[in-house]
Symmetry: C2
Subunit: 160 residues, 2 copies
């Protein structure tokens, strides 16, 4: 069998920053301005799950508040002190802390950097087909299409 | 929908250590003596992939040298300086470094702690059904059964 070209260890924070800033419709892009992702799993050809090293600057968020229907999500904080928002609760997080969100459990979540220093974390999510994402605070829903790409709609079903 | 009981952040290194030391047949258990796993993903009810915080003491290994047929694997070093063995190559790893192994690519791998300090890392693997594990250096193969449990056999098919 062929060996995947990149099979040696790499320094996670020296891998390439993802050029695509966000898949969100333009009006929602400001929420994640100041967010930078490095796709670590993809760097090694992994496709069953994704592992990103994500950095959010002060004032930025990891994502809009959201919940997945089929894809589990896991976060491990490497640097800084983000605020984890889960529905209407807030939790202060520190390096070495982690949290997971079971798909379908309905807990909407996001990390927000309300500190004055950068926050870095690992985020892991799987690629279960048929995933849908609900954004309770805004007029947005997302569904993963057969090509693995996100399609965004208004809550009345109208595409963006 | 019901909220999963554990939905608040936790300090990863304060979660419970897994009681089951290894699933290996007894004669292979010494290879991972000195290894301790905390099942972080399971602590939050995640089932699509696993995230473990694993610590290996000097002289211990992460696993026997092995390669998965269907499950991707990813490692991120948090503490210490393990040696990554990939087939017949050795790489020194440091905190902040990561490596991934694409399922089916045939690269057999393990981390060995040849230093005199503990090594801690995050390991992520998915749960793709039908996974098989080959151990090139010993008379062992593993297959995940329909209940998600590992079954170990000799290479001639004889069960352990």
């Amino acid at each position: 069998m062929e060996r995947f070209p990149l099979s040696e260890p790499v320094a996670a924070d020296q891998t390439a920053v993802s050029k695509k800033k966000t898949a969100y419709p333009k009006i929602f892009a400001p929420a994640v301005e100041g967010r930078e992702k490095r796709k670590l799993g993809a760097a090694f050809g992994l496709s069953n799950f994704g592992v990103n090293l994500t950095r959010i600057q002060p004032g930025a968020a990891s994502a809009l508040l959201h919940a997945h229907s089929r894809q589990d999500e896991f976060i491990y904080i490497l640097e800084g002190h983000p605020t984890l928002v889960v529905d209407d609760e807030n939790f202060q997080m520190s390096p070495g802390q982690c949290v997971g969100f079971k798909a379908g459990a309905g807990m909407a979540h996001q990390l927000v950097n309300r500190s004055d220093s950068p926050v870095s974390y690992l985020e892991i999510g799987d690629r279960s087909p048929g995933d849908e994402v609900n954004y309770p605070n805004v007029d947005l829903v997302a569904a993963m299409n057969a090509n693995g790409q996100w399609e965004f709609r208004h809550k009345d079903g109208e595409p963006y």
